[in-house]
């Protein structure tokens, strides 16, 4: 286990200094530099939920210290952050990956832990991109680990922390609250609401003091799918219905997002009635939610990581090795798709508009090819999760390759969208 832990850290640390999503890392660096350079806690326009800022502060303090001691950090290519600075900014996410691995390994799910920890997509998001989905996931996994052991209060705390990083974490929390409501467990319900309220107050108090509440208030519609700002979309629905090769739509205004929202409680109630344990019902309903949100909302590419740990836990507790291996392949293919969609040159050199891996990136109709392939992957993941357990076969990868090649042929070479 320790060898795997070390290997996972080596690959992450090898990648982290030379890569980074230029815009996201510039944002994280901007806020940390402002605090450690000028002592200003600037939460007024912090673009995400503030937990990320709090978690980055202590880790970045070590970097600030070594810089104050005279450390000269190299600046690589056109990145907005210094090489070692990028490592420190990504370190909370990398440590979260380690945390998920340890949580799974220590609860008898070593294979699930390995398939998560050494998953290229998880490595890509935390160590190359520098996005913080791993932080949400570590608390999500901690919540399910607690729930599996019937520790509901610990699960509520974990899910609350998860939701305070990315709202998706609130889905299992909402299901726990729904369960208490349905079973009329008033005391349990009050405890859950008290935990949630206290964490909300603690987390948002500094933001409100900094005058950032109205920013959050106007950003919130984007998080829940009712924003009126128009931006790029990667969702399959927008990709296939838009006449443009780069769909521009209201950020999260897919009218079908309600399918995802409604399906989760319905699935949970149906699963509960089948005498599934509370842990299994919430796990399966959350997995369904992760898949459907990726299909029916204006999902961001990094959201593809959400179903992976859920599928791996489900695979582990139901002995569905086929699902576990598919979830791993899902991540590897998602890495390729997202990497070629955003452009290798952007993460490696901080340059937009490059296509070093041409003709696999920067091609016409790329969003459509990405969208069709990812929706196929998501549907296959659902099939592996809820159909009769089957062994994983490499032919499945061939099937996905055919889907990708077909989409590439029709949208990029033939250009049927222009006919």
């Amino acid at each position: 286990m320790w060898a795997i832990l070390a290997l996972g850290l080596v690959v992450r640390i090898a990648i982290a200094p030379i890569t980074g999503h230029a815009y996201d890392l510039a944002l994280w660096a901007n806020y940390q530099r402002l605090f450690f350079g000028s002592g200003i806690v600037d939460l007024r326009y912090f673009p995400t939920l503030p937990m990320l800022y709090y978690l980055q502060l202590p880790v970045y303090s070590f970097y600030a210290l070594i810089r104050n001691l005279g450390f000269q950090d190299p600046l690589l290519f056109y990145h907005p952050t210094y090489a070692i600075e990028a490592v420190f900014l990504k370190l909370p996410m990398i440590l979260a990956d380690v945390g998920v691995f340890l949580l799974l390994a220590r609860t008898g799910k070593l294979l699930a832990g390995v398939l998560y920890y050494l998953n290229p997509f998880i490595i890509y998001l935390s160590s190359a991109w520098g996005i913080y989905d791993s932080l949400m996931i570590v608390f999500l996994v901690a919540g399910f680990t607690a729930l599996e052991r019937d520790s509901k209060r610990l699960a509520v705390v974990s899910f609350t922390l998860s939701g305070l990083l990315k709202l998706f974490g609130f889905i299992p929390l909402a299901l726990l609250i729904l369960d208490s409501l349905l079973k009329r467990q008033v005391k349990s319900l009050l405890v859950q609401i008290a935990i949630l309220s206290s964490f909300l107050v603690i987390t948002f108090a500094p933001v409100i003091v900094a005058g950032g509440f109205e920013t959050f208030y106007t950003a919130f519609p984007r998080f829940v799918g009712i924003s009126t700002a128009q931006g790029k979309s990667w969702s399959v629905i927008s990709a296939l219905t838009s006449s443009s090769n780069q769909p521009i739509v209201p950020y999260a205004a897919s009218p079908m997002v309600w399918i995802a929202y409604a399906s989760v409680p319905v699935a949970f109630i149906l699963l509960s009635r089948r005498k599934s344990s509370l842990f299994m019902s919430i796990l399966q309903a959350t997995l369904i939610g992760a898949v459907l949100l990726n299909i029916f909302s204006q999902a961001e590419p990094q959201w593809l990581s959400w179903p992976i740990p859920l599928a791996l836990i489900f695979a582990s507790v139901t002995s569905r090795d086929g699902l576990g291996y598919f979830a791993y392949s899902f991540g590897a293919i998602a890495t390729f798709l997202v990497m070629t969609l955003t452009g290798t040159g952007y993460l490696l050199f901080g340059l937009l508009g490059t296509s070093y891996l041409a003709p696999l990136e920067g091609f016409v109709g790329g969003v459509r090819v990405y969208a069709i392939t990812t929706v196929s992957l998501l549907l296959l993941l659902l099939a592996y999760s809820f159909a009769k357990p089957v062994k994983f076969k490499l032919e499945v990868l061939l099937l996905i390759l055919i889907i990708y090649a077909q989409a590439y042929f029709w949208f990029s070479i033939v250009g049927i969208q222009n006919l």
Partner: protein, 334 residues
């Protein structure tokens, strides 16, 4: 902040009643085009499917001075499936002709929507954008034309109907406070700042806005006459009139229909459709950075290749090989 200005349509300068024979038609042989001018301008065109894009143009002479801010407002309807545009040209005091349109303008190659549309064009701004400099004193717009076009291999019967064409003074209403009410196509917030020379990372504009039901607007941050950053295009929210818009240099691809001040920094909220009836600016924040422009820069191909190989080695090859070894080769014996 020094002032908030609402920019809208003022007094009428000129109006085409579509009663004379000032309009002329030019059409290629591959099309059948008919022009009727009787209270409205009706252009009916049958395009045969051709290998190249085709267009039919109608034009007339006008005489609108560029010494004053003026706005052309057009009400028209165009069939779906076709594209259309409006162009202007003029002469300066020495008699030299100039174009007052550019290919990438929002006024060009617009898709026909099949419903009535209001289109506005600030003539001074269009002239500036077309030529990169403000028109010299005494310049005039002397010609206006509309065109209807189809792309290659697309034929069919299409119509352009212009119900109204008029030029009006650009009415600027200045407010000493942070809010303004009226009927505006653009809001111009002048800041007491010189042009911004530092590398801008992002700007945040926090404001309240209300407008007609069809209001759609885009915020722009100007440093002098250059768009330093642009925001997303917003529709009105049914939940709140408040908006915090982020403006990014990487989004700067458009231009509003008016020009800001030459030597200052300003925020323009440009209505893409509908009009703004109320606006109040709460806050404007600029964030600067030493970040490079991600669209400019090169990496030596050999170095790039080496880094990509290194990246792929650690991202894909090492973890996937490790997983295969762990699950297949080093499996615990049962």
């Amino acid at each position: 902040m020094s002032s908030v200005q609402g920019v809208g349509v003022g007094n009428l300068i000129w109006r085409d009643n579509f009663t004379d024979n000032a309009w002329h038609l030019t059409a290629p042989n591959t099309t059948t085009a008919q022009l009727h001018v009787n209270g409205t301008l009706d252009l009916n065109v049958v395009f045969n499917s051709e290998a190249n894009a085709q267009s039919v143009t109608v034009y007339r002479s006008v005489n609108i001075s560029l010494d004053v801010d003026s706005l052309v407002v057009v009400e028209l309807t165009t069939s779906t499936g076709s594209h259309y545009g409006i162009r202007f040209s003029g002469v300066d005091p020495s008699g030299t002709a100039f174009n007052a349109w550019r290919e990438s303008s929002k006024l060009q190659h617009r898709p026909g929507l099949g419903i009535p549309e209001d289109i506005t064009a600030d003539l001074v701004a269009e002239t500036y954008l077309a030529n990169g400099q403000l028109p010299v004193a005494g310049s005039r717009v002397t010609k206006v034309w509309f065109y209807l076009e189809t792309p290659a291999n697309a034929g069919g019967s299409f119509q352009l109907q212009v119900d109204s064409l008029q030029a009006s003074f650009l009415n600027r209403t200045t407010s000493g406070s942070t809010e303004i009410s009226g009927d505006f196509s653009n809001i111009l917030v002048n800041f007491n700042l010189p042009s911004v020379n530092q590398s801008l990372f992002q700007a945040y504009a926090s404001f309240d806005i209300r407008g007609t039901p069809s209001l759609k607007y885009t915020p722009f941050f100007f440093s002098g006459l250059s768009v330093a950053a642009q925001g997303y295009t917003y529709t009105q929210s049914v939940i709140t009139t408040h908006q915090v818009a982020v403006l990014l240099p990487s989004l700067a691809a458009g231009f509003p229909s008016i020009l800001p001040g030459v030597n200052s920094s300003s925020l323009i909220i440009g209505a893409v459709s509908g009009s703004i009836t109320y606006f109040r600016i709460d806050d404007f924040t600029l964030k600067f950075t030493a970040t490079y422009d991600p669209l400019q820069g090169t990496v030596d191909p050999t170095t790039a290749q080496a880094f990509i190989v290194y990246y792929l080695l650690f991202l894909f090859i090492t973890p996937i090989t490790a997983v295969i070894l762990l699950t297949k080769v080093f499996k615990t014996e049962k």
